[in-house]
């Protein structure tokens, strides 16, 4: 922020002050991080420069920033060769090779598809049949075939907009969680809803003071984590029963399974480490006051870091899970 005081105008400072990072994605080689914010911009950071021995303040700034969409970029996803970004009703695909080379001057995205979806909140990749599940404001989940960009099917059933998606690879199913408080499990082959779990109806999880919406969903093929209005809870998918409820006070926005732990972020100013038994092992403080996204770089072994972004223009980077190493700045 000191650099900004020196060089930036008050408008830029205002811009940075109100920035929120909504989504992140690592490149397939694991050396770059793309982050999307509420202004529709995507910034590309070089991890090898920021983590290298001669890193300085400049290496913590993006190597490339461009405006991808008019509205906020709520969701970013990386395939083997492309970066998919979702804006207001459109999905754009940017080639990673070209982004890394920074020749963005003459580049429209490789693919842009427009739909009548008012806002796209979540995207999930199903590698089994190379399809993309897209969930948004029209209460439906759309499945798009990545090879030709055409929409294969629509999964209807939610009564309110969809917050989050997850793919259960082993059983070829898509899980979706929405504002209506229901987690629905869809079979991708028959496009039918196999299960519908209304989390707020279970007494152990429900928190009526927060609401019934589900904003955080992730699955491990046998287990599922879901949270939001209701407390974050771990569910066993075969028996569809909640096994543990985590005593975290805020509403959780993103959670992930990592080795034997569960990492989760949400309304508090910290990353919570929890064990599957239901206890909160540690809460690591970070910069943003309210965190929207958490990502672990599994594509690279030497740059295996955890990054979190939220209601701040800083993206915290953790090289060791126990403490924050440094921050990347927009």
């Amino acid at each position: 922020m000191a650099r900004c005081v020196e060089t930036a105008s008050p408008i830029l400072m205002h811009h940075l002050l109100h920035m929120s990072v909504f989504s992140q994605s690592f490149s397939p080689c694991g050396k770059f991080l793309a982050a999307g914010n509420n202004y529709g911009e995507i910034a590309l950071f070089s991890l090898s420069a920021a983590l290298g021995p001669d890193a300085n303040e400049l290496s913590q700034k993006p190597i490339l920033t461009f405006t991808a969409h008019e509205g906020p970029v709520f969701s970013l996803l990386s395939t083997d060769s492309h970066l998919l970004s979702a804006g207001n009703g459109e999905i754009s695909a940017w080639s990673w090779a070209e982004l890394i080379k920074k020749c963005l001057c003459a580049l429209p995205p490789s693919l842009r598809s427009s739909l009548e979806i008012p806002e796209i909140n979540a995207m999930a990749l199903n590698p089994a049949d190379n399809s993309l599940a897209v969930g948004g404001g029209d209460n439906n989940v759309h499945i798009m075939d990545l090879e030709n960009g055409a929409f294969k099917s629509v999964l209807q059933g939610h009564t309110d907009y969809i917050h989050c998606l997850s793919v259960r690879e082993r059983a070829s199913e898509v899980l979706s969680g929405g504002e209506d408080g229901a987690v629905r499990i869809w079979d991708t082959r028959t496009s039918q809803c196999v299960h519908c779990v209304e989390v707020y109806k279970y007494e152990t999880c429900a928190r009526p003071q927060h609401g019934k919406w589900i904003s955080c969903l992730t699955t491990d093929s046998d287990w599922m984590l879901c949270g939001g209005g209701p407390s974050l809870s771990l569910w066993h998918l075969r028996s569809m029963s909640p096994t543990s409820v985590f005593p975290l006070s805020g509403c959780q926005r993103q959670a992930t399974f990592y080795q034997d732990m569960i990492l989760t972020v949400g309304e508090g100013q910290c990353v919570s480490h929890c064990l599957m038994g239901g206890e909160v092992k540690a809460q690591i403080p970070c910069t943003p006051h309210s965190i929207n996204t958490l990502a672990i770089n599994t594509n690279s072994t030497e740059h295996r870091v955890l990054t979190v972004g939220g209601s701040s223009d800083h993206i915290d980077v953790f090289t060791n899970l126990s403490y924050k190493a440094f921050s990347l700045r927009f």
Binding site: H236, D260, L275, M276
Partner: protein
């Protein structure tokens, strides 16, 4: 290349000379005194003393030569020792690296095991909440028995009901027939007993016919 080595040689010679100034000078002095002694027409005693003196210097030179030889041997042995230590340390380093990677693998395995254990625990918690299978089976058996008893009772009651129905049916039908036969026959007031008997006989035969 030649210039460098020359410089090195010069430097080395200067160093040696600086230290062993005594030795070099001693050799030169010995040489000079030897030539002087060979060429001098001095008396035998002086010659003898000079000779002795030269032996002394020679002995000194030999002594210092031995010393340097021993130092040289010592240096060689030190070098060997250091080489050994060096290779030892290298081996230790490689084995430590291997141990580190082994330990890392162990950690991964242990984490996986811990994750599995936690999953078991979580499932066990859920399973505990459900009632025991033996108890449920016992309850089921008890219920079955009750059901059996109740159905037996029901059968008995049904059978009784059937029997009663049949009996009442028989009774009612006989009453009805009696009624009919009574209606058919004209009803005279029984003034004489003969008529009553004949009526009685007449009644009996239709009843026999009726049955």
């Amino acid at each position: 290349m030649g210039a460098v080595t020359d410089d090195e040689v010069i430097r080395k010679r200067l160093l040696i000379d600086g230290d062993g100034a005594g030795d070099d000078r001693r050799i030169n002095v010995l040489l000079k005194s030897f030539t002087k002694w060979c060429n001098s027409p001095a008396t035998p005693e002086e010659g003898f003393t000079q000779h002795q003196r030269m032996h002394g210097t020679l002995a000194q030179c030999e002594f210092s030569m031995l010393k340097t030889l021993m130092v040289y041997d010592m240096n060689i042995r030190e070098m060997e020792n250091y080489e050994k230590i060096y290779s030892n340390i290298e081996e230790n380093i490689t084995s430590a690296h291997e141990k580190i990677s082994e330990c890392k693998k162990e950690i991964q395995r242990a984490k996986r095991i811990r994750k599995n254990r936690q999953e078991y625990d979580a499932l066990a918690k859920v399973i505990q909440q459900h009632p025991d299978r033996h108890e449920t089976l016992k309850q089921l058996e008890a219920l079955d028995k009750e059901l059996q008893q109740l159905s037996d009772i029901k059968e008995n009651v049904d059978a009784k009901l059937e029997l009663r129905k049949k009996q009442f049916h028989v009774l009612l039908s006989t009453i009805q027939e009696l009624q009919q036969t009574l209606d058919k026959l004209p009803c005279h007031f029984p003034l004489d007993d003969d008529k009553l008997e004949t009526d009685g006989n007449n009644q009996e035969s239709p009843m026999e016919n009726g049955e």
